[in-house]
């Protein structure tokens, strides 16, 4: 059961909703699968399923529903990859797609920033790398709770686990990220 909070800035039509959510959803998918083409496929499938099956639902329910679909698709993708690796174990793990890129490659160039902003930018890059090093569950939890601002209940529903697990994953994610930042830049957060 989804517990949905209504926000006044929520889009009221499907086009605006998809437009608003697409880049964050792409980033989440890309962080999980590490392949641009696969992330785009997952994004398209999730959007399709949302529009076909849930367009009639109230707009405030679209966001949790969409992220639940996306997380299920990502989980399916990982299962499929495991099976593929088992069946074709003699093949290399490298993706044949030459356009495959690391999710963290799409960041701004720090050299263009003035000196006073350079440190901050480097810290943020470290934080992003720390985010990449988190476990799948911790990263999902952090992104949904912190970046997307979802409630604990919605996050638990999206991830298919208890609210207690969400709190644990989130706490560990924050703790790890904090320690990564502290280690890398010799600062105390």
């Amino acid at each position: 059961m989804l517990i949905v909070e209504h926000h006044s800035d929520e889009p009221q039509d499907m086009d605006s909703f998809l437009l608003q959510i697409e880049q964050k959803a792409y980033r989440m998918a890309l962080m999980s699968v590490n392949q641009h083409a696969d992330a785009i496929d997952l994004l398209q499938d999730s959007m399709l399923k949302l529009v076909v099956n849930y367009a009639h639902k109230p707009p405030q329910e679209w966001k949790p529903l969409f992220y639940r679909i996306l997380q299920n698709r990502i989980r399916d993708w990982h299962r499929h990859q495991k099976v593929k690796q088992l069946l074709f174990f003699w093949k290399a793990n490298n993706h044949p797609d030459d356009t495959a890129e690391e999710w963290s490659s799409y960041v701004g160039d720090a050299r263009e920033l003035p000196d006073n902003r350079l440190d901050a930018s480097q810290q943020q890059d470290t934080a992003l790398k720390g985010l990449a090093e988190l476990s799948e569950k911790q990263r999902q939890c952090f992104l949904l709770r912190s970046w997307e601002g979802m409630s604990v209940a919605d996050t638990a529903d999206i991830m298919g686990c208890s609210q207690g697990s969400v709190k644990t994953h989130y706490s560990r994610a924050v703790h790890k990220l904090r320690s990564v930042l502290e280690d890398a830049h010799d600062i105390t957060i």
Binding site: M14, D15, L18, L19, E22, Q23, K24, Y26, R27, H36, I40, D41, L43, Q44, D45, M47, L48, V51, V52, A55, S104, Y106, V107, G108, A120, Q123, Q124, D125, A127, L128, L131, F142, L143, S146, W147, V174, L177, R178, L181, I189
Partner: protein, 123 residues
């Protein structure tokens, strides 16, 4: 600075970096994302139309009555054609001459039958 606000600051840094990374996505990636959205919407529209066509075809009243009528007509026609026909009398029997002796015997038999009936009435 409290622990909560400190961790909040760290989270804000990460969130703002994620937002920046999204803003700095290459144009080709942005185009791919937009294409994915448009494809999803187009496919959804086509799928919805297809479903509604199938639903209308199955459940409209005129279509139901027409299909029931056609089915009944087929059943009647098939059963009518399958009824066993009375065998036609061979043409030789119609043109064959009946012998006169047989006719005389038949008349005698009818007279004897009538006579017996009359006697029964009188008794």
């Amino acid at each position: 600075m409290t622990l909560q606000s400190k961790s909040g600051t760290g989270e804000q840094q990460i969130n703002s970096r994620l937002d920046q990374a999204n803003a700095a996505l290459p144009q080709s990636v942005k185009q791919d994302i937009a294409a994915a959205r448009l494809n999803a919407q187009a496919e959804a529209l086509a799928l919805t139309k297809k479903r509604s066509i199938v639903r209308n075809w199955h459940f409209t009243l005129p279509a139901t009555f027409t299909s029931v009528g056609v089915a009944l007509a087929v059943v009647v026609l098939v059963s009518y054609r399958q009824t066993p026909l009375i065998p036609v009398l061979p043409a030789e029997l119609l043109t064959l001459d009946v012998p006169l002796v047989d006719l005389a015997l038949l008349e005698d038999l009818e007279f004897a039958d009538w006579l017996a009936e009359q006697q029964e009435v009188l008794l």
